[in-house]
């Protein structure tokens, strides 16, 4: 409650109460919530795997030639981790915070603001994991993930979910209105989606375009998921995980600080 104290001073196991609230609501609509992560990868696999693959053939990645569908399937998982966490802690959290005043109600109970915000981010990561599990099941059906290495994608979804959930929450803490989320989506999410090593290898780009791509958290998540799905994790994965941990350690506390400023008067 007192501004300026270390944020983790006010975090207890009660943050799971916030998570449980969202889980209760999610369970009510699970049939609808399940469909996008189930259908989307199927549509993408159909379009890219069947349609585009015929044009592209194989891709040179990590010193090996792999089929185009093998190349993009893990990237689709990474993109979905980003979307699920980011959209949860932007639009969905904003609706709870601003329109439904759910956070105000929680702040009249023994929950702290820090627990509420971190609980929301952890929930965003949970949505990313749920989507990942569904997509992995679908993609594994096509034999595009090699196990047991592929199981590491699940903790990667937790990490990526926390990273994108935290930056989403930071935007939520500073935007003036819900329409303004268009801005980070246009300037941050969409460029990553296109240029984060998702649809073509970054080696195809000239260095002036390639190097900035390594600032994108999605690039690192794509690299890590792709290497583990392919069964050959290397230094790219290690750097990717380190980058995502650092990214989370910056934006998670930042989102809490910005939220304190926004909500506590």
């Amino acid at each position: 409650m007192t501004a300026g104290r270390n944020i983790f001073h006010y975090v207890s196991r009660r943050l799971w109460r916030v998570w449980q609230r969202n889980w209760t609501v999610y369970r009510k609509n699970w049939k609808i919530s399940f469909l996008p992560p189930l259908l989307e990868p199927l549509l993408y696999l159909l379009a890219f795997g069947v349609g585009l693959s015929a044009l592209v053939g194989t891709v040179r990645y990590g010193g090996k030639d792999i089929s185009y569908i093998e190349f993009i399937a893990p990237a689709l998982i990474a993109v979905n981790i980003m979307y699920n966490a980011f959209f949860e802690t932007t639009y969905a959290s904003y609706v709870r915070m601003y329109y439904q005043k759910t956070f105000d109600a929680m702040m009249a109970t023994p929950l702290s603001l820090e627990e509420i915000i971190i609980g929301e981010i952890v929930w965003g990561a949970t949505k990313a994991v749920i989507a990942t599990l569904i997509m992995m099941a679908v993609i594994s059906g096509f034999g595009l993930i090699s196990y047991p290495g592929g199981f590491v994608i699940i903790p990667l979804a937790v990490l990526g979910g926390l990273a994108f959930g935290a930056i989403g929450m930071t935007f939520t803490a500073i935007v003036k209105g819900i329409d303004l989320f268009n801005l980070p989506i246009f300037l941050f999410i969409t460029p990553m989606f296109l240029f984060g090593g998702t649809f073509f290898p970054l080696e195809a780009l000239p260095s002036w375009a390639r190097n900035p791509a390594f600032l994108f958290p999605l690039t690192h998540l794509v690299n890590s998921v792709r290497e583990f799905a392919g069964g050959a994790p290397g230094p790219l994965s290690m750097w990717g995980v380190l980058y995502l941990v650092a990214f989370t350690l910056v934006f998670l506390p930042l989102s809490v600080l910005k939220m304190r400023r926004r909500l506590i008067h």
Binding site: R17, R21, K101, M106, S112
Partner: protein, 303 residues
């Protein structure tokens, strides 16, 4: 008497503006205490400090003998708050709303169900247990907010404008239920814009304006002290009447299009001017808390 709230020189500053400017009061166990005041008087700011939503700028504030700055979690676990907005979960049913809220207080599900049934019946919402919150009327939402505030069986109930926007039937029902809770010994702190609500429910109250307390006392004493016993209102007074009042009446307000006369000894003064006023369509009535409020805080609009 044991006090549940002790505020001493309480202060709250927003961006250099003093919303609460040195407020001191005590709320005793088992009483209903009211905070009245025009918009922007500092009522909600005061209440939000009491349940640890806003950090205080200065002064001291103890709730249940604990310091709100350090023991906010314990304090919040023992109070129920009904905020101004109906911030229920629109995606959940009535019962689910109560379960989710009970979890925040670590109330076990079995206990939560018992309490939910009891308080829903108490607030005449038993038949809507399985309804979606979006289907409820304004009065039902407000009553559900009060049920939710009771789910942790609090020692202090805080109500921020509990009946604003309700129809007369709903307001009276809420008042009856709150009286019942008070008679069971629950301490209640309430803000309101309705003077009839404050007169009826509050054992003691303060009237605030510009972040300060103007008066404190029980409603009947405040009326006697600040508005007298009875009031004569004269709409569109003629010149002679205005002169007469100015001459004879020690305590009156001239609002231009209306004279408001505050009377202490009914017979003498009233009979004396009655004959003059008979044709004027004057209104004679009991003094109310509203008269006190308007006299003390003025009649200018607060927007």
């Amino acid at each position: 008497m044991e006090s549940v709230i002790e505020a001493a020189n309480l202060q709250k500053t927003f961006d250099g503006i003093k919303a609460v400017d040195g407020v001191s009061f005590r709320v005793l166990r088992g009483e209903c205490f009211g905070i009245l005041g025009p918009n922007g008087a500092g009522k909600t700011s005061t209440i939000r400090m009491i349940y640890g939503f806003s950090p205080m700028t200065g002064g001291s504030l103890d709730v249940f003998g604990l310091d709100i700055r350090t023991d906010w979690r314990t304090i919040r676990s023992k109070i129920g708050v009904c905020q101004q907005d109906n911030n229920l979960d629109p995606e959940l049913t009535v019962l689910e709303n109560l379960f989710v809220f009970a979890r925040y207080f670590d109330v076990r599900r079995k206990d939560a169900l018992g309490r939910a049934r009891r308080y829903l019946a108490f607030m005449a919402l038993d038949h809507r247990r399985e309804s979606q919150v979006l289907e409820l009327s304004g009065g039902m939402l407000r009553r559900l907010m009060i049920v939710r505030a009771l789910i942790n069986e609090p020692d202090l109930l805080i109500l921020d404008e509990p009946t604003t926007g309700l129809d007369p039937q709903s307001r009276h029902q809420v008042w009856e239920r709150l009286e019942e809770l008070r008679s069971r010994g629950l301490s209640i702190l309430l803000t309101t814009h309705y003077m009839d609500e404050a007169s009826r429910l509050c054992d003691r109250l303060i009237i605030m304006d510009h972040g300060r307390i103007l008066v404190e006392g029980n409603p009947a004493d405040l009326i006697r002290e600040h508005a007298g016993k009875e009031i004569i209102e004269i709409p569109n007074p003629r010149h002679e009447i205005r002169e007469l009042v100015r001459e004879k009446m020690p305590d009156y307000e001239d609002l231009g299009h209306r004279l408001v006369i505050y009377l202490d000894e009914r017979e003498k003064s009233f009979q004396e001017i009655r004959s003059y006023l008979r044709a004027e369509g004057c209104i004679m009535r009991m003094a109310t808390l509203e008269d006190v409020f308007l006299r003390l805080t003025g009649r200018d609009l607060r927007e």
